[in-house]
Each structure stands twice: as structure tokens, then as C-alpha cells.
């Protein structure tokens, strides 16, 4: 049976910590190693920060929905916002610049997650992040 945790929070940075806590616990509950839990938490956090900074241009009173789904073989995080569509060049993989002060969030997300998919939906944007889970001991392949 799948597990679903849903957050609907204002686009204020103070709520990032709340979502991080839920994401970290969900990852730990599904037996990811501590460093993998921290990585998954970081990737979701970076995606939320991108929504706040870019989609909502730091307007802190807009809604962000985060659906966290745990399936037998993967964790899925679907972020939905009603802000501006992202610049396609920002979503695309690009080499890191040693001296750039920004632009590392997308690189972090792509480094950690197994799948990153953006979709424009009626009324907003959806970013779906997927982390595959290692096979459980004793599980049928």
C-alpha cells in the first residue's frame, strides 16, 4: 500500500523547515541511509526554494502544494505552484560555474534524484522528483 503525505504551505521560507522534516522522516521510514535521507531532503528543499524565488518572485503569500508518495520501489515528490513558468534554460542540465553565486539548486536536484520532470498544468506548474528505492532484502524481483 502506498503512503501519501500532502503539504499545502505558503511560499514563505519559514515553511521550508517543516516540509524538510516531513520529507526526511519519510525517507528514513523507507530505510534510506542517513546520507540519502539528507540528499532527498535537500533536493526537495532546493525545488521549493526555486518556486519561491523564481515562480513566485519572492512573494511569500502564495500557495505551494507538495505531494510526497512512497511506493514500494520509489519515493515521488510532486510540487505544484501557481506562479510563472520556469525558464527552460534553468531546468536544463548545465555545467557548474566555480564562481557563480546562484544556479546550484537545479544541479543539486538533478544530481540527487533519479527522475526530474516538469509539466505545465492548467493553472500552474508541476515538478515531479523521483528517487528510486533500493530493493528490499527478501523482496521478490
Amino acid at each position: 500500500m502506498e503512503v501519501l503525505i500532502k503539504f499545502v504551505v505558503p511560499s514563505h521560507p519559514r515553511y521550508l523547515r517543516l516540509v524538510r522534516a516531513g520529507v526526511g522522516e519519510l525517507a528514513a521510514f523507507h530505510e534510506l541511509a542517513p546520507e540519502e535521507c539528507r540528499a532527498v531532503m535537500l533536493a526537495v528543499d532546493e525545488a521549493l526554494a526555486n518556486v519561491i524565488r523564481h515562480a513566485y518572485r519572492s512573494d511569500y503569500e502564495r500557495p505551494i502544494e507538495v505531494n510526497c508518495r512512497a511506493l514500494p520501489d520509489r519515493l515521488e515528490f510532486a510540487l505544484f505552484d501557481q506562479g510563472e513558468a520556469p525558464d527552460p534554460s534553468r531546468l536544463a542540465p548545465h555545467p557548474l560555474d566555480d564562481v557563480a553565486l546562484s544556479g546550484r539548486g537545479t544541479h543539486i536536484i538533478r544530481s540527487i534524484m533519479d527522475e526530474v520532470a516538469y509539466e505545465q498544468l492548467p493553472g500552474g506548474n508541476q515538478l515531479r522528483l523521483t528517487k528510486l528505492l533500493p530493493p528490499r532484502k527478501g523482496a521478490k524481483s
Binding site: 523547515r17 524538510r20 532546493e46 519561491i52 557548474l96 546550484r104 544541479h107 543539486i108
Partner: protein, 112 residues
């Protein structure tokens, strides 16, 4: 996030505690840039950092750039596993001068 400034044997140290993220990194950046104005070397103690994101890393990078621009030093010590992992993900581990402990920084910087 809390950032407090102290001195040990002439070395100015910013002790950072808690979560550094989009909401808290501007305050940390401000504290460190202010502290850097008055010294030749600034050390950031990250031993009690529970979480850092790319905006926190960008703040550290901005302080490093300012230090280099002014001919000063900015070093990090006490990195937790989480901080080290984010530095590795952003490929910035080699950009910063990183020490294990405060004593290591003092030995390196002041020769104490």
C-alpha cells in the same frame, strides 16, 4: 539559525548554529561580511550546522570572494557530514580552505 562572533587568540570566529536555508542565509551573510570588515582572517565554525542548502553555500562563497578581493582569509572548520555533502554536490570542496578543528585553524593561521 544563530550566528555569534567571538575571538580566540586573535582569531575572529563566527559560530553558526541551526538551519541555513533560503530564509536564514541573508542574515548569516550579513553577519559574516560585517565581521570580515574588521579583521584579516575570519573563521566560520560550522560544527553545529544542522542543515545547509545552496543559498547557504552561496553565502559562504560570497564571503570568500569578498575576503579574496580585500586580500584577507576566510576559512571553514568543524564541517558536519551534511555540510560536507552539500559542498561536494556543488563541487566547492576544493574552493574553500577547510580545517577539522578550531585548534587546526589557529595553528595554520596564527601559528599558535
Amino acid at each position: 539559525m544563530n550566528a555569534s562572533v567571538r575571538s580566540n587568540k586573535g582569531l575572529t570566529i563566527v559560530d553558526v548554529q541551526g538551519h541555513i536555508d533560503l530564509g536564514t542565509s541573508p542574515a548569516l551573510r550579513k553577519t559574516m561580511l560585517e565581521s570580515l570588515k574588521n579583521v584579516d582572517c575570519l573563521a566560520a565554525n560550522l560544527a553545529d550546522v544542522k542543515y545547509i542548502d545552496s543559498s547557504g553555500i552561496a553565502s559562504l562563497l560570497e564571503v570568500l570572494k569578498e575576503a579574496k578581493r580585500k586580500g584577507k582569509k576566510f576559512v571553514l572548520f568543524g564541517l558536519t557530514a551534511g555540510v560536507r555533502e552539500v559542498l561536494q554536490l556543488t563541487r566547492l570542496t576544493g574552493v574553500f580552505e577547510i580545517h577539522a578543528t578550531e585548534d587546526d585553524v589557529l595553528n595554520s593561521v596564527t601559528g599558535a
